[in-house]
């Protein structure tokens, strides 16, 4: 029973959306299912936050290695949460000045905005900025022109790297007009529009077939791995 009902819910949820696509009479059913899905996605954020708290509280109570950093995470989490949910330091909206809670939680200049601008933004952006260094290091250590496939890959990368900056103009700007197509900036365009399009289209078709088959397996109850093991 504990497995049959979820299987039914999966199948109904999925097939409603599929049927809704084919008939305008059932379009609103699809809309309803999609709206419920969207709301559950927001609730998943709360679940995520709850899980984070659970994990880090456990780390602290077990005094696991690095538990003090879990403390930092929790303080950052709770501070942001309280300021955000409480709309602390936020003024009412201009349309409804007499409603204290009507203002935007991310009002410019407010404490939650401050946390975004001076903590969330630099932290997440810098995390991704680090990738520039790792890609450089990987290029030095890992890209070897061992065979024709690797040479094709590296050659294309070189053309793109040069052709998508002004270096391309420097290197091949002197080519005469009848060899225009060999100028790096033009070669880049050709590679992207012709070779890259062909390669990615094949990959896209492959992935699409893969997704269709996994989706069908889930909807028809062939693949039940998402239900996990444990209690029946």
């Amino acid at each position: 029973m504990k497995r049959t009902i979820p299987l039914l819910i999966t199948a109904i949820g999925g097939f409603v959306l599929i049927i809704a696509f084919f008939s305008s009479y059932t379009q609103s059913w699809g809309e309803v299912a999609a709206i419920w899905f969207d709301i559950l996605a927001a609730i998943a954020f709360i679940l995520g936050g709850g899980n984070l708290m659970k994990i880090h509280l456990k780390k602290i109570s077990d005094r696991k290695a690095g538990w003090a950093y879990s403390g930092v995470t929790l303080i950052a989490f709770l501070t942001t949460l309280i300021i955000g949910l409480g709309k602390i330091g936020v003024n009412p909206s201009e349309q409804f000045p007499d409603y204290a809670w009507s203002g935007s939680y991310r009002e410019v200049g407010g404490p939650f905005w401050w946390l975004y601008e001076f903590a969330f933004k630099p932290l997440t952006a810098t995390m991704f900025a680090m990738l520039a260094f790792y890609v450089a290091s990987a290029a030095f250590r890992a890209f070897r022109a061992k065979n024709i496939e690797a040479i094709l890959l590296l050659g294309t990368a070189f053309i793109i790297l040069l052709g998508r900056t002004y270096a391309g103009v420097w290197v091949t700007g002197w080519l005469p007009e009848w060899l225009e197509g060999l100028k790096l900036e033009n070669l880049t365009v050709t590679i992207m529009k012709v070779f890259n399009t062909a390669g990615n289209r094949a990959i896209m078709i492959g992935i699409a077939l893969g997704i269709v088959s996994t989706s069908l397996k889930v909807l028809l109850g062939v693949d039940r791995s998402y239900l996990g093991g444990g209690e029946e």
Binding site: F133, A139, R144
Partner: protein
């Protein structure tokens, strides 16, 4: 020499990368000199889609990115908003990413409120904000906006927003402009909006990682694409060419676009992509150099092993 490179600590590579990006930023910041841009056809297609719409057209701008991709996408977002505002289109901002509304706020504060003071909220532009559910959101608003967006991000009911009166769904839009950093983004807009409703037109600006993956959709399902920072720079150049005299700095003099040296006299916020192409150039050369040196080491090593 050979041993030095073979055993090179990766921190030296990090230092080189730092210098290759930092030095050009400082030089360009101090001198204002940038490289000229020659827009490619795909970028022209983006420009034309917005430019050729009659003034007052409805444009949905979905900013599906966050600060992690701002380096690549913020210049596009800025320019899209500028171009639409300058052309007099009605702008409907929304976001599929949780932090997207902040990106919309930034654009409204820095571009619309500062340089288009005549535009009225609710009549010329509206911020619909974020809804969770990724492609699930597109799936709903493609047939009905109000089911999800009963109010805008300020809490104004849909019926009280004048520019929303004749809008029921995304299908009422004349153009979709998407700034995308990944999932959910351009791919999902193509899959759930443009492909099932082929009358819709759409252009996008996306990160370098995504750009190659989107080419198979062009031009039937995606009508123009700005790929990575280079796409942003080329688009900036096109918008500046068309609207430079309006955006030029007050001290720009007779020729608002460029000074005697050919440098732009346009406010820095509109040349972010163009400026960024300097560090980009030097860092790309470093990457190529690193790959070549790495390979030389590899082949020397292989030959030595062969001899043994």
């Amino acid at each position: 020499m050979y041993e030095f490179f073979r055993d090179l600590d990766r921190r030296w590579i990090f230092l080189m990368m730092f210098l290759c990006v930092a030095v050009p930023i400082i030089i360009i910041g101090a001198t204002g000199k940038t490289f000229p841009e020659e827009p490619t056809q795909l970028v022209r297609a983006v420009f034309d889609e917005i430019e050729n719409l009659p003034s007052g057209s409805k444009v949905l701008l979905s900013y599906d990115y966050d600060p992690a991709s701002e380096g690549e996408l913020a210049p596009m977002a800025t320019m899209f908003a500028y171009h639409c505002a300058a052309k007099g289109h009605k702008m409907y901002f929304m976001a599929l990413w949780p932090v997207g509304p902040q990106m919309v706020d930034d654009t409204i504060e820095n571009i619309i409120k500062k340089d288009f003071k005549d535009l009225k909220y609710g009549e010329d532009y509206v911020n619909l904000g974020y809804k969770s559910g990724y492609e699930g959101v597109i799936k709903v608003i493609i047939t009905d906006f109000t089911e999800l967006y009963s109010t805008d991000t300020r809490g104004t009911p849909w019926s009280a927003i004048p520019m929303c009166h004749d809008v029921n769904s995304v299908q009422d839009m004349d153009l979709i402009v998407n700034v995308s950093a990944g999932y959910a983004g351009t791919k999902e807009w193509v899959q759930y909006a443009v492909t099932p409703y082929p009358k819709l037109r759409m252009v996008a600006g996306c990160t370098g990682v995504q750009a190659p993956l989107l080419y198979p959709y062009i031009p039937q399902q995606l009508h123009g694409l700005l790929g990575a920072i280079k796409g942003a720079a080329e688009y900036e150049a096109l918008v500046i060419e068309a609207y430079g005299d309006k955006m030029a700095r007050k001290d720009a003099g007779d020729n608002p676009l460029t000074d005697d040296n050919g440098d732009y006299l346009i406010p820095g916020k509109y040349t972010e992509g163009i400026r960024r192409m300097g560090p980009q150039l030097v860092a790309h050369l470093l990457m190529i150099l690193l790959i070549i040196v790495g390979n030389v080491i590899y082949f020397v090593e292989r030959r030595r092993e062969g001899r043994r």
